[in-house]
Amino acid sequence: MVNIDSIFKLTYYSVRKKQKFPAFKTRRGNVLYFKDLNNANEYIASKSKYYEEKHNDIYAYTLTEIPLGVETRNWEYLSLRIYLPDGTLWGEDAYAHFFPHSGLSPVDYNYWGRRNMFHGRHKDQIKFKLGDIVEILGCHENIYWSDDEVNLAVIVKTPPSATEIDEQLEQYIATHSGFDTCEHALSTEFGSSLDTYEVLSPLCPSIDHAPTIFVFEPKKISTRRKNELQEIYEKYLAERK
């Protein structure tokens, strides 16, 4: 049994009053550190009590669990949670996104392999369907979009469910052998990189990936933008046929 102490790091992202699509910058606020999840949740609840839409520019809170006593980079975490400004939990990554560095970590590679494995999303956790227009929060916890921007996009593929992942895993194990099937190697194939929506955005002409929990409902969006994104989606559908 491996027991790793961890702390929780809370960051909030705020936006300026004037938001202009398709992309606008976010600002990283103060970083706070908490001993455990309860303390962090209490803080978020106390903060969101004063939440009024007019006077609050917070876009989202990110809460990452960070191991103590192990070499860690700033994009690595043991678990990741996102909260909306009113304090509700928007999404959770139950798996870790962590890679032991240079043999200094006290535990073995297969242990981290097991923790890094992504086992598919339940259908309640997939909040958007094909063709939906969404906002994607870019921040340094987001491994695909780390540019501190909120982008508008349209969804063309939803994250895989548990059964899909199981099928892929079976197929992978059937065609590979030896080192490729150990837990450490499996986690690089079936890790956080699979837990994404595939999206198209007006600024990026090819398919891009957005981690599931960083995808939000768009707040204010003009009909012109909506039409633009719908056109992109229809064009994509036409090309696939």
Binding site: D5, I7, N30, V31, L32, Y33, F34, K35, N39, Y43, I66, P67, L68, G69, V70, E71, T72, R73, N74, H101, S102, L104
Partner: protein, 220 residues
């Protein structure tokens, strides 16, 4: 009160030149005690000096300038969670430390002469997480005598001490190269010996800058 220790490595591109260099910050993790953080730092010093780690692929272009261990308070909700700052040079030897918290609960009462590492006219390198800049020291940190004098003067004038000195007073007064008044106040832990040899031409520039300062204000 529970605290954790955050270890950070600061590097700069080895091709970048004086006097101002852009630096890069590397998060190295969080530790429950100072000893553990220093142990991790010393492991990293060995790896970086030997140049054999996988990470060296990424920092092959970079020179390590400094390490920084920041003690942070947990469950602190105001955002002022720094309890102490310690800096180390690239070979892991201690550079300087400031054990004052950023909530200003502990007061700064001046440094003893042994704790003052640089004196007016010295060329130093001020390294933080964004820039590393060569500067000339115009004034060192306040000494214990300065603090006593400050207290006496307050007592004479107001019969009380209206405010106390805090972590931000434990700083040097330095000037960088450039026209006119370019002074700023780096915190003591951020001030280092120059990490690379300084050319004679640059030394002369700083010398004339220091003379200009003396002509402007007279000797402190």
């Amino acid at each position: 009160m529970k605290t954790i220790f955050e270890l950070v490595r600061i590097t700069a591109n080895s091709k970048s030149r004086y006097p101002v260099r852009k630096t890069r910050k590397w998060d190295m993790g969080f530790f429950s005690t100072l000893a553990k953080a220093e142990k991790q730092m010393n492991e990293d010093v060995k790896i970086c000096l030997a140049g054999e780690s996988d990470q060296m692929v990424h920092i092959a272009e970079d020179d390590v300038l400094a390490y920084k261990i920041t003690e942070r308070e947990l469950d602190e909700e105001q955002g002022e969670n720094i309890q102490s700052v310690r800096t180390y040079t690239a070979d892991g030897s201690p550079n300087d430390k400031c054990l004052l918290d950023h909530k200003c609960e502990r007061h700064f009462e001046g440094r003893s002469p042994e704790q003052i590492r640089f004196h007016p006219g010295d060329i130093v390198e001020v390294i933080d997480e964004r820039h590393a800049e060569l500067c000339v020291v115009e004034h060192s940190q306040p000494t214990e005598d300065d603090y006593k004098r400050f207290c006496n003067r307050c007592q004479e004038k107001y019969n009380e001490i209206p405010f106390h000195w805090d972590y931000s007073d434990d700083s040097y007064l330095v000037e960088s190269l450039g026209e006119g008044d370019t002074h700023f106040h780096p915190l003591s832990p951020n001030v280092f010996n120059p990490t690379k040899p300084v050319s004679k031409a640059l030394k002369d520039k700083f010398k004339s800058k220091y003379e200009e300062i003396l002509a402007r204000y007279g000797k402190h």
